[in-house]
Amino acid sequence: MAETKPKPKLNKKAVEMAKQDPKVRAKNFSEVALGYTEAEAQEEASRCLQCPNPMCLQGCPVEVPIPQFIKCIKEKKYAEGIQIIKTKNALPAVCGRVCPQESQCQAKCVIGRMGEPVSIGRLERFLADWERDNGYQIPPKEPPTGKKVAVIGAGPAGLTVAADLAKLGHQVTMFEALHVGGGVLSYGIPEFRLPKAIVNNEVNYVQKLGVDLRLGNLIGRIHTIPELMKEGGYDAVFIGSGAGLPTFTGCPGENLGGIYSANEFLIRVNLMKAFQFPEYDTPIRIGKHVVVIGGGNVAMDCARSSMRLGSSVCLLYRRSRDELPARHEEIENAEEEGLVCKFLAAPVEFYGDSKGWVKAMKCIAMELTEPDAKGRRGVKAIPGSEFIMETDTVIIAIGQTPNPIIQRTTDGLQSDPRHGTICVNEVGKTSLDGVYAGGDVATGAATVISAMGAGKRAAKAMHEYLMNKK
């Protein structure tokens, strides 16, 4: 009889990650999810089957060698583990927190067919946090190539391109329009989901790779792309300027006081730290009954921030719960913290008080229509179903589009007139020679990791372009 290996008993349940108690965390801006302890990370890592043909990899837009880094955790080789991640991903502390792993790597994990998939994101975060506590290692760089690259925007796409190209020996300058780096990681995602100290660390890491970060430089105004290439001597340019332009509803009364775009609200609260006003100088004025319009992750961030500022929050979404585009985990967190959802309803008009501050809004009930070719269900208003909701603060979180400044100031750069996105091929090349783009500016608002994936592909293509350029 052939010798049989003892079959390891598979634990179908993933190791839970500790979170702040909902009642407590709903009143503070500290991080909600607390991360694994070493013992918890060990236990979770041991659930990984180390598949010879790993499926999880297929779900990762930046192709992190997942089984390898998990093996390092199991063997307590943490320094080695984090370096393995960093061969593919310069921002693991960010991705370990905000990536939608449930629909990417973890969705492919084979254990997921029998129980809960391995918590890849939590393990990634564990290693990234371990590195933060134990000191960063700067990986070796290729010898200088003598090529100069300009990266526009220090968000997830730009940071990825800058890190990859700097490691390959190119001289990289990153131009950031705001006064801090990080892009949406700094101005958009709230402190309780992604502490700014972590974002700063990741930005510092990219600077330590030799990237020159210039803050307060709005490209299109201070320099145009043609100027960077002609006078600035840059051999290639990457545009990662994101999707920063807010969308409004177009309903009457939208310019009343107390009606914020999600961007304004989040910029005040996150970037300018208005939640610590008057310690910090930028104020935010928020009422007792906030209505957040929208159903994506940005809407959840606005809702959860509002609750932390002491308000009760109602989320108004025109489709039903099943269509909410936000991450499931975020919806669950928000509801635990006290979010009330009103589905199948849309705004019609806003009403103000005598001082021009919003006091109520008219809404209309919606119904779902049959799915379209893409399988997404449309909505239509139900005539005569208008109703009034009282509110004193409204936050509009119905999407962002790319900022048009670069498109307007770069001759020959093709963009989509309807969505404002810059047209690129599969590796991020634009209509101009040596100019690449990726992330939200090319796709419209999407996720941090998809922007990083686009950055990876563009960096590879730019490297080839630079090395072949005479």
Partner: protein, 281 residues
């Protein structure tokens, strides 16, 4: 870091800074603005460009010390550095030969207005500049105005110097034909002047200074209604057709954070200065 090379008090509480910023100076044009931020806990504030010197590599801007941020800024001395100055932002004003141009400025915005007067004169226009203020002590930059204009008119709210109020404008427009009017100043001044010029059919451009945070199209707090359309002060302006702007809405939107601004200012007075950690006590 942006080093302050000169600091002038134009009139009480209105200061003019000249700051080293060669890259901005090379690109700045009349009508554009800057976002200034100082101190780790500071606000981002928009300030209209008042001048630029490409040889010296400097830009200048004026500000009225009304809130905590501007008061803190006013305490900085020559040689000290401002953390961040972003610009030039917004679209440059339309400068070309129109013929006769009337430039009307009020309060702190007189400083950037004179940049317009100068540019309009250089473009071959006959320039009449109106300097407006509350009362005589607040009239500023009169000599510069004379240098850059063919005619200078002074008006005050209380009549302590020059004309009293804006009634003279109606008389002036009855007598003389202007081809273009440019107004920079408090919203109420821009509103009143636009109403007057409308009756005489004079194309009028106003430079709006709504509340802004990023100043580059992200936050949307600077949204204004112009000709019934929602536009952004920062990326669509800052110059707009004064006959199309919904000034009442703009005035209302300017006031949305007043209680917080007052609180901030009062607390700063009590605690005796800014918290940016740079100023000596």
């Amino acid at each position: 870091m942006y080093k302050i090379v000169s600091k002038t008090e134009l009139v009480p509480k209105i200061k003019l800074f000249e700051v080293e910023a060669p890259e901005i100076a090379a690109k700045a044009r009349p009508g554009q603005f800057l976002i200034v931020i100082h101190g780790e806990k500071g606000e981002r504030i928009p300030l209209t460009i008042c001048g630029y010197d490409t040889k010296k590599g400097t830009i200048s801007f004026a500000f009225h010390e009304v809130g905590k941020t501007t008061k803190d800024l006013g305490k900085l001395s020559v040689g000290e550095e401002i953390d961040n100055v972003t610009g030039p932002l917004g679209n440059p004003s339309e400068i070309k030969k129109f013929g006769k141009v009337l430039c009307v400025g009020g309060s702190v915005m007189i400083a950037p207005l004179l940049l317009q007067s100068k540019a309009m004169k250089e473009a071959g226009n006959y320039v009449t500049t109106v300097l407006g203020a509350r009362s005589e002590p607040f009239i500023m930059l009169e000599e510069e105005a004379k240098k850059y204009s063919d005619e200078v008119i002074i008006a005050t709210d209380d009549g302590s110097k020059g004309y009293k109020g804006l009634d003279f404008l109606k008389e002036l427009l009855k007598k003389e034909k202007f081809d273009r009017c440019v107004v920079m100043g408090p919203v109420i001044l821009m509103k009143d002047v636009s109403e007057i010029t409308k009756t005489y059919n004079i194309p009028t451009m106003v430079t709006l200074t709504p509340i802004m945070i990023d100043g580059m199209g992200m936050c949307g707090v600077c949204r204004v209604t112009v000709g019934g359309k929602m536009l952004f002060g920062c990326v669509d302006g800052a110059e707009f057709d004064g006959h199309q702007v919904d000034f009442d809405e703009l005035i209302m939107r300017q006031r949305t954070m007043l209680p917080e601004e007052r609180l901030s200012s009062v607390l700063a007075e009590i605690s005796g200065g800014c918290k940016c950690g740079r100023n000596k006590a």
